[in-house]
């Protein structure tokens, strides 16, 4: 994600406070993600009017209402498609997409895969709680096998999706995982994801304190290991990243799995945008060009 720095504007935490306070359950992991995003924007000094925060539907998708940037609260699963349109129409904007695992990997799975292969320049933060919260506790695409929910009371028999492996396979050029309770680490990943020029995928463990009694803070804390502490980890090595992505249970890596910077972003690859964002372009087709279009038909 490219940043748009404006001179003489100082961005403070207060500038990023939304019109209303979050109505997430007390203890929800999403609070930590919101705070980390706000901190990252302050540290990067990106003016709030140059940021568009776009979400789908779900608990975590209420995010745009809780931060003072331009926001779009769209349809369930469709945030990435909307965000692609926003970015292509005005690539000067910093585009953040926020949502949950059901929104992104379930109903929005198709857009997730295609947005990554397109390398749309945005940061996609998934607040992954391995459960459907706003619909009061059903199995999600990342729920573990055996997990009992209202929709699968005898235990989930379907294998969960591995978002990190999927993102790597689909061609995401920045793939990372954070933990809502690791604020500094998460803020750093968000900053890197915003700076990355291309599709940045950030899966964040964001525990649901109400409906997921399996994957709790207590469950994650002893398991998460920062890739940044692993000196042998080379984030430019795709195969190694793939290897790390399948680690689970006893040791779960968080941090930057992979980044490559040699792939042009979607807007960077399209010469139509060379002259600048379309949002500022002259609407009229030049007379000679229009005449040539008509001449072709004669």
């Amino acid at each position: 994600m490219a940043t748009a720095l404006a001179a003489n504007i100082h961005v403070a935490m207060a500038d990023l406070k939304g019109k209303v306070d979050p109505d997430w359950c007390p203890g929800c992991g999403d609070f930590g993600v919101l705070a980390a995003v706000q901190k990252a924007l302050v540290e990067l000094q990106i003016p709030n009017h140059n940021v568009v925060t776009i979400s789908g539907i779900g608990c975590s998708s209420n995010f745009p209402g809780f931060i003072n940037t331009y926001g779009m609260h769209t349809l369930h699963g469709r945030a990435l498609a909307v965000a692609t349109g926003v970015k292509l129409a005005n690539h000067d904007l910093t585009v953040l997409v926020t949502g949950g695992d059901g929104d992104g990997f379930g109903i929005g799975g198709n857009h997730f895969v295609h947005s990554m292969r397109r390398n749309v320049d945005l940061l996609y933060i998934v607040m992954d709680n391995q459960i459907y919260g706003l619909t009061t506790g059903q199995t999600s695409p990342t729920s573990r096998v055996g997990m009992k929910t209202k929709s699968m009371p005898f235990g989930n028999i379907e294998a969960p999706v591995n978002p990190i492996s999927l993102a790597l396979a689909a061609g995401a050029t920045f793939v990372a995982r954070g933990f809502s309770a690791e604020q500094k680490h998460l803020t750093e990943l968000i900053k890197q994801g915003i700076r990355h020029k291309g599709f940045s995928f950030l899966d964040v463990f964001s525990p649901c304190v109400t409906y997921n009694h399996d994957n709790t803070y207590q469950w994650f804390r002893p398991r998460v290991k920062k890739l940044e502490d692993d000196r042998a980890h080379d984030p430019t090595d795709w195969m190694a990243a793939m290897g790390k992505s399948v680690l689970w249970d006893e040791e779960i890596p968080i941090g930057k799995f992979f980044e490559r910077t040699d792939v042009p972003s979607l807007h960077g690859a399209e010469p139509v945008l060379n002259a600048g964002p379309l949002a500022y372009a002259e609407m009229r087709i030049p007379v000679d060009v229009a005449q040539a279009f008509v001449e072709e038909l004669m």
């Binding site: 019109k19 609260h73 769209t74 498609a81 349109g85 292509l88 129409a89 005005n90 087709i285 038909l297």
Partner: protein, 596 residues
């Protein structure tokens, strides 16, 4: 009666039906003749049966007509299917090496071309087509240089040798006809006019470019794909971002995203793709983000008949997406109108911050028409409505953080700030929201606010109605018969009215272009004096008749409907009108005699 001349070219897909059609079309339009072309084809890449009708004349040619003057069958199948439709004065030019003629009607000339004697068919696989084009033009009384010029353009990319070879074959056909075949009774005239020849899909794409569309995306779906093809080919010259997307759900949401960021954005699909877009339509309405969606109807339901026409999507358009919301829905009347309607509906969508839907169909999307190039106006009026694109442009709002994106106003229109403008940050939401954009679906749920927001949005309906002109009656007000149609049937009903009037039954026409808003009062004002009203539409259930009744309580005297996949021909309507005047029936379903 207008003087016209119609050519039918039939063969298997892949046999090269299109090229002779293109050549005839170019020659006619350059002679200053109008033309209308319709290709009946199948969902198959090689084989099957394709039948192209090109009808030309010095006046507007509004439809494919009833009769053929020249038939060029490229295989036995085409001969068998179509020879029987020729009437006295018509001719059939065919390859006598491979095709056995049937028994024609009296006065029909069979013109056999001994193709293998006239050309080296081992070298040129489409020699029969080129010979037939040459022969046909000779019989129409058109000088050879016109054909030479078009062939040179057609084969330019393949090099001089190919041009010379094809010109030689065409010349042979031309000369052979001059020695062996009788010229047509009516040599094609020439006028000083020049016309552009284009499909409805190209017209809508160009109309989009003229309207200032900067973002277009689509998933390929017949018969709408032509819009994508024109957009993709001309994107860089026109400065338009064109994307092919993973599905129509992605398409509509990407379109909304681009529109929200401040550009005019458009997409096109057919019924199945539109069904996937429904939820997005509601999002556009709820976030009050204007966009234009084109639906090119094909025969449904489900995958249906992808290459055949129908007007069967009307109720889908009326009911698309749940909940009540303002929308504009227009059906272009002909291919020229496909161009004009796009800037018009964008102005409505922008002013009233709502989705605009263009309801086209295969007949217009893939048909071709000669259009006066001046009618392809690339400087139409552009009205973006109350749009805030920079901090100083804001008159109706302030930039100090007190901006209300969904401010309640008398018109229902709230000034729309686009992302990037300092001081106007807000969230546009799919959930119900208050004036400031704060969700009122959760802890702030409030029936009073919900009602106010519904009423604010729905107040725009009245504004849209006054911004759109009511329909007008064409022809004498006191006619025996009033034919009511909508969208693409304009041309064929117009010709049916002329034929009926010539036969002593005076007829007038009410053609509906704007379906939403409908202007029910204006329609009733027209219809209250009508003696005998018949609604003509290309679907099974009379979708427009039902809609008109639901909006106005109007019940017509009769109906003419067709749902076999093919468009109306004038005689279908004329005969049905007579049948209904005689009191035999109030519902006519004409049979399509051409097996395509």
């Amino acid at each position: 009666m207008r003087q016209t001349f119609a050519i039918g070219i039939g063969g298997a897909a892949g046999q090269g039906v299109a090229t002779p059609g293109d050549i005839f079309a170019k020659i006619f339009s350059r002679r200053g003749l109008h033309l209308n072309a319709y290709n009946a084809y199948q969902s198959i890449i090689r084989g099957g049966h394709t039948f192209l009708t090109v009808r030309t004349g010095p006046e507007n040619v509004t439809n494919m007509g009833d009769r053929l003057d020249l038939l060029i069958p490229l295989n036995q199948d085409a001969m068998n299917r179509h020879l029987g439709l020729l009437t006295a004065g018509a001719a059939c030019v065919y390859n006598s090496d491979t095709i056995k003629p049937g028994v024609p009607a009296e006065g029909v000339e069979l013109c056999s071309l001994p193709v293998s004697k006239l050309a080296d068919i081992t070298r040129n696989k489409v020699a029969q087509n080129t010979l037939a084009v040459g022969a046909g033009l000779n019989m129409m009384g058109i000088g050879f240089p016109a054909l030479e010029e078009v062939l040179a353009e057609q084969f330019k990319k393949k090099g001089d040798a190919v041009v010379t070879e094809n010109v030689g074959i065409a010349r042979t056909g031309y000369d052979y006809a001059s020695a062996h075949f009788k010229p047509f009774a009516w040599p094609l005239p020439m006028t000083g006019n020049r016309y552009a020849v284009l499909s409805g899909n190209i017209a809508m794409a160009m109309g989009g470019a003229a309207a200032g569309v900067k973002f277009y995306c689509a998933y390929p779906m017949s018969p709408s794909t032509g819009v994508l093809h024109w957009m993709a080919a001309h994107a860089r010259k026109a400065g338009i971002m064109v994307r092919q997307v993973e599905d129509e759900i992605g398409v509509v949401n990407m379109t909304i995203g681009a529109a929200h960021a401040g550009v005019r954005s458009m997409c096109a699909t057919s019924g199945g793709g539109f069904a996937l877009m429904s939820e997005g339509l509601g999002l556009s309405a709820m976030m009050e983000t204007p966009m234009v969606v084109i639906d090119c109807q094909r025969a449904g339901p489900s995958t249906g008949v992808p290459t055949k026409t129908e007007q069967g999507d009307l109720w889908q358009m009326l009911g698309a997406a749940f909940g009540d919301y303002p929308r504009a829905l227009a059906a272009p009347l002909d291919i020229g109108d496909c161009f004009k309607i796009i800037p018009e509906i964008f102005n409505i969508a922008d002013r009233f911050q709502c989705p605009g839907i263009v309801l086209c169909d295969l007949l217009l999307s893939e048909g071709r028409l000669s259009v006066d190039p001046h009618d392809l106006d690339f400087a139409p009026s552009i009205d973006r409505g109350e749009l805030i694109t920079n901090a100083s442009s804001a008159s109706a709002a302030n930039g100090d953080g007190g901006y209300k994106r969904y401010k309640i106003t008398e018109s229902g229109i709230s000034p729309r700030a686009v992302p990037g403008v300092p001081g106007y940050t807000h969230t546009a939401a799919s959930d119900e929201h208050d004036e400031a954009g704060v969700l009122i679906s959760d802890e702030f749920t409030n029936p009073t606010k919900r009602r106010a927001m519904m009423e604010k949005r729905m107040r725009k309906v009245a504004g849209i109605e006054s911004a759109v002109p009511p329909p007008e009656l064409w022809g004498p007000r006191d006619a025996d018969i009033t034919l009511i149609g909508w969208g693409s049937t304009k041309g064929v009903i117009e010709e049916a009215c002329e034929i009926l009037t010539e036969q002593g039954i005076s007829a007038n026409q009410l053609q509906i272009r704007w379906l939403v808003p409908l202007h029910g009062d204006a329609i009733m004002d027209i219809l209250k004096d009508a003696r005998h009203t018949i609604i003509v539409e290309n679907n099974y259930s009379g979708q427009f008749a039902r809609y008109l009744r639901s909006e106005t309580s109007f019940v017509p005297t009769g109906h003419i409907r067709k749902y076999d996949g093919e468009p109306f021909m004038p005689h279908h309507i004329v005969e049905a009108v007579k049948e209904q005047l005689s009191g035999k029936t109030r519902l006519s379903v004409p049979a399509h005699e051409v097996l395509v």
